[in-house]
């Protein structure tokens, strides 16, 4: 009796295996087929993103690279850019993560309106952002005037103004990224921590922050890149003084008018620095979790 019983099972299993293989094969070939209607625009998009970068690298006058890149102007601008962008991201983290945390709390009244307000700097032309900052923190601004009267200090035309401009444009990137991470995370871990005796601040520090670490890192990288590339708000609000407010993007823009070759080289340098930081951070942070 056992053999006729086991035989059909074996045959059945083989048939099932064949069926599975067949299904897998058709699925693969079906999925790998891309209709022309999608392939063509996709290729256009890819080229549009990559070609300008290739052009930058090809057209840069590499023979002048040594003189341009080690020139006082370039190094000064690069240094200022790296310092201000980094300080900006630190400020963005310190004020942006708590804001994201509050935004992500369930049942927050007016959350939708708040979220819309936070998105405004994302869609606002940076020049307008710079003007807006001027009206508040300029020497004659709403807050700037009393500040100037009391202390004799004014933001415009200082590196602090550069940082303020960068924080203004970069903050939404971090807030939205961290809020998304918080929404995607399981908030019940926080409840579990609370029942173990952890007060809210401890819960935030020991549970929430580590759990949304990747989201924070991604947001910080985006914010840093945005701060590094900031141009419009900076030139409007902080001005364009070598050594104090002339960041790399301003240096590139200026060079384009006088010496296009060096503008290309500076652009490649900025590109290289951004890519290097992205790659390094990715290795260091993104794969940790």
């Amino acid at each position: 009796m056992p053999s006729p019983e086991s035989e059909p099972t074996l045959v059945g299993a083989q048939a099932a295996e064949k069926r599975a293989a067949g299904v897998g094969a058709t699925e693969r070939s079906w999925q790998s087929r891309v209709p022309l209607l999608l392939a063509v625009p996709a290729a256009v998009a890819l080229l549009f993103l990559i070609l300008p970068l290739v052009g930058l690298v090809i057209r840069a006058p590499w023979t002048d690279a040594a003189t341009v890149l080690t020139g006082a102007g370039a190094l000064q601008a690069l240094q200022l850019s790296l310092i201000t962008a980094t300080v900006s991201v630190i400020i963005v983290l310190l004020i942006g993560v708590p804001l994201a945390w509050i935004l992500a709390r369930p049942g927050l009244p007016g959350a939708a309106l708040l979220r819309a307000l936070i998105t405004i700097p994302l869609v606002l032309p940076p020049v307008v952002g710079g003007v807006a900052l001027f009206t508040v923190l300029g020497r004659a601004g709403l807050l700037g005037r009393p500040l100037y009267r009391l202390t004799g200090f004014a933001f415009p035309f200082t590196p602090y103004a550069v940082i303020l401009a960068q924080v203004f444009v970069a903050l939404p990137f971090l807030v939205l990224s961290v809020e998304g991470a918080l929404r995607a995370s399981d908030r019940r871990y926080e409840e579990a921590a609370a029942t173990l005796g952890a007060p809210p601040v401890t819960v935030f520090r020991r549970i929430t922050l580590p759990l949304i670490g990747p989201g924070i890192a991604a947001g910080a990288v985006l914010a840093w890149a945005r701060a590094l590339g900031e141009f419009g708000a900076t030139i409007t609000f902080a001005g364009n003084f070598p050594g104090t407010t002339r960041t790399m993007p301003l240096e590139v823009y200026l060079a384009l008018e006088t010496d296009p070759g060096s503008a290309l080289l500076l652009s490649v340098l900025l590109l290289a620095v951004s890519v290097a930081v992205l790659v390094l951070l990715r290795e260091r942070w993104m794969n940790r979790w």
Binding site: E191, A192, T195, G197, A198, T202, R206
Partner: protein
């Protein structure tokens, strides 16, 4: 016995309302049993402080942790209790040891002391070797032990267990249940176990409280509840047929018009309970011995353990159904199938009767 937990909790939200009076003594284990949506989890969350009560008062270990009238709602971290969550919620970014050490650490122990305590507890639940593992790398049964050790690490006065065994496969379930029972016996505080599994509840708890639609419908020892169910839900859980009616001499009159013959005289409103195995089925009307014989119609047939559960409709009156348990061969002999007409017989001596109040 000193009441470690004394709660009169009311949670009213929209069209859901929960009212639960609860006292648990030192060392006592109480199971809160009920169907989905009965309010078990709401009760647990209210006790833990994760949800505000809208009326009533909760006292744990002698301290008032919530008093709706006085506006007192102590947050979870100020309540002397520990919770084992249904899916354990072990912190994925910490080692097993640090998970267990978390409670003592945030309540002020220094790091070494907290880790020493944690190691001790892990050894007690038999998983000392997993101390350095991360939670995603351990099995469900192991995670359950870690969760229990973590909840006990803060030396709570009240331990809340939310479906502690529901996430385990059948084999691990039995094993872990035995262990949990042992650890609960060692625990000096009060334990409230929330479950929908009557067997878990009976094995682990000294006393059962059955919750339906936010109200307590029955409470007592597991034996009392198993022998004398008071609602259809409880009757189904413990596997008994339950009918309610009013006693009149040797018979109980059912509200739908039927009657059940008893061996002893009764009076007043009563419940009648009998086992499905005590129900016999016949194709032709049986005669002879004094029993209850009714004509009905088969609703469903389902395998149950080694036998077959037959649900017979329109018995003893049009609005009731009765479960019978028969052997698979009897199903064939009687040619039973859904819709067929059948005679149902129950011996008077197999019927338990108890007052409704």
């Amino acid at each position: 016995m000193v009441a470690e937990l004394s709660a009169d909790l009311g949670v009213h939200r929209g069209d859901f309302s929960l009212d639960l009076d609860l006292e648990i003594g030192t060392g006592e284990v109480v199971a809160l049993l009920g169907p989905n949506g009965a309010g078990k989890s709401t009760a647990l969350r209210a006790l833990a402080g994760l949800l505000q009560i809208t009326s009533g008062k909760i006292t744990v270990g002698g301290q008032v942790v919530a008093d709706a009238a006085a506006g007192i709602h102590r947050p979870p971290h100020e309540r002397p209790l520990g919770v084992v969550f249904q899916d354990y919620l072990l912190f994925p970014h910490m080692t097993v040891l640090d998970n267990v050490a978390f409670g003592p650490l945030v309540s002020g122990s220094d790091k070494r002391e907290a880790r020493r305590r944690a190691a001790l507890l892990l050894a007690r639940v038999g998983i000392a070797d997993l101390a350095q593992s991360k939670p995603p790398a351990i099995s469900g049964g192991q995670a359950q032990r870690v969760a229990l050790a973590r909840a006990l690490a803060t030396e709570p006065r009240l331990l809340l267990l939310d479906e502690p065994l529901a996430a385990l496969d059948a084999k691990t379930h039995l094993l872990v249940r035995t262990e949990v029972r042992r650890h609960l016996a060692d625990f000096s505080g009060a334990t409230l176990l929330v479950t929908h599994d009557p067997i878990d509840a009976s094995v682990l708890a000294d006393r059962l409280i059955v919750l339906e639609h936010g109200r307590v419908v029955q409470q007592g020892t597991p034996l009392q509840v198993a022998r004398q169910p008071r609602t259809d839900y409880v009757a189904r859980l413990v596997g008994l047929n339950l009918l309610a009616g009013s006693g009149c001499g040797h018979r109980v009159l059912l509200p739908g018009g039927g009657a059940v013959e008893l061996a002893e005289p009764v009076s007043g409103d009563v419940y009648i309970a009998f086992r499905p195995a005590a129900v016999s089925l016949f194709v032709h009307r049986p005669d002879g011995s004094p029993r209850n014989v009714w004509a009905g119609r088969i609703a469903t047939l389902e395998p149950h353990g080694e036998g077959v559960r037959v649900e017979v409709g329109e018995v003893p009156d049009r609005s009731s159904t009765i479960l019978a348990e028969i052997t698979p061969s009897a199903v064939g002999d009687l040619d039973l199938r859904p819709g067929s007409e059948i005679w149902v017989a129950v011996k008077a001596s197999d019927i338990a009767v108890y007052p409704t109040d």
